[in-house]
Amino acid sequence: AAALKASTGAYKVDEPLTPEKDVTSYNNFYEFGTGKGDPAANSASFKPEPWKVKVNGLVSKPREFGLEELLAFPLEERVYRMRCVEAWSMVIPWIGFPLAALLDEVEPLGSAKYVAFETVIRPDEMPGQSGYFQPLEWPYREGLRLDEARHPLTILSVGVYGKTLPNQNGAPVRLVVPWKYGFKGIKSIVRISLTETPPPCTWNLTAPDEYGFYANVNPAVDHPRWSQATEIRVGEGGFFGSNRRDTLPFNGYAEEVASLYAGMDLRANF
């Protein structure tokens, strides 16, 4: 990971940062294996450069963005909470730019209602994508409603902790939507498509009763196998420094995003 310059962004959680060691060694990235340490251990041969992201679908100006073009967007550092659906959380200094800025470049059509994302498929570089056991159907896919995608909190991240993204964190470009569970933050993106209908999402397809399309952080709606009411903050000094804290609605970003879901039944649309 090379050093990456960014301005200080407006969004900065006032909580201690999760140590870089934990942010870069405790990951869910099944393309590199299902263990938390697998992505860091198995991603050394992954090549995030050169890279292209194809943006197409219901847009007036479909085009490809090279990595250099992505890095040319005004980059800022955003310190966000990250809440995993597995009831642990981190505080992470991302570097990136609003997804809205990229969408503006391609000019979505009036009929576009959703944004679909896809991760790269490279079985030679991603051991989780080859062999007898493959945990998920590839490519990993995620989606947002267009208004969620355009929300100023939603960023495409190209770096963390002042450097370009390590492979295990989704190099070279990934999505960060801080009020949703971490699995919405699709990594190593190669395609972004604007669609009229809700796009298929990997975890939602895999276990629809466990992972919804919205996946907004919500302490009131439990995962069938565990409570979402509380979370463990990772990396606060071993067994006794870690603390279990209450999970906040929309991961603490309710003020900014609750209005997106006005009138919706969040229990049905989990």
Binding site: T34, R225, A229, F240
Partner: protein, 220 residues
């Protein structure tokens, strides 16, 4: 059929104590690493999962003693109690890690988990069923209970199945690791269903292969 050298008798006792000592190494080393902040990421969950995994390994080891004796004639029965008790201690530590470190004694949440989440209900049932087995894992109980002891300790089959199921149900995607444990437990439990027939066949076969000569019998 001696596949492994026989241990001298005076080492039987010490070898059992060595097994106990060795058996606690994974828990002790993980506890040290976790308590000193050296387990990466979600240290508490890593510790909790490690304890659960070792519990399952010791349960499987316990169930392996009989088939190893049946098939290879190696009698390690003197280690079975230690393996079974190690399994119990690991299940207990697994639960304590969950209750104390993970849930930090939030009892409403713990009770809700046990009541509402099938994989936790199953895991809890396995722990409860292990208690009478652990309490009767001593010579006094074996003498006292007689044939009922054997019957009681058949509960370990249910416990091992529950443990493997608990593991498989707890993961997001059932990958090779939980599948392996399910397969091993299935294999070991299946052995019990064919065991009597196998032993009869083995006896008959050896009787045919080595008929005892009448003269030798008389001489003996």
């Amino acid at each position: 059929m001696a596949l492994v050298p026989t241990l001298p008798k005076h080492l039987h006792g010490p070898s059992i104590w060595a097994l106990y000592a060795l058996g606690f190494v994974p828990a002790a080393s993980a506890f040290y690493l976790g308590a000193t902040g050296q387990l990466p990421g979600n240290a508490i969950k890593e510790f909790e999962h490690l304890l659960g995994l070792w519990a399952l390994r010791f349960l499987i080891a316990t169930l392996t003693i009989t088939p190893v004796r049946d098939l290879f004639g190696v009698n390690w029965i003197r280690y079975r109690r230690a393996l079974g008790l190690l399994a119990f201690y690991y299940v207990l530590m697994h639960f304590l890690a969950y209750m104390l470190l993970d849930q930090m004694l939030r009892f409403p949440a713990i009770l809700a988990d046990i009541a509402r989440r099938p994989f936790i209900t199953i895991g809890m049932a396995a722990l409860v069923l292990l208690i009478p087995l652990a309490l009767t894992s001593n010579n006094w109980s074996i003498r006292r209970l007689g044939p009922r002891w054997n019957k009681l300790h058949k509960l370990v089959y249910v416990i091992a199945a529950a443990g493997a199921l608990h593991f498989a149900m707890s993961v997001k995607v059932v990958g090779p690791e939980p599948m392996l444990y399910i397969a091993l437990v299935t294999l070991l439990l299946s052995w019990r269903t064919v065991r009597t027939r196998f032993l009869r066949w083995k006896r008959q076969r050896s009787a045919i292969a080595r008929p005892i000569p009448a003269t030798e019998k008389a001489a003996g």
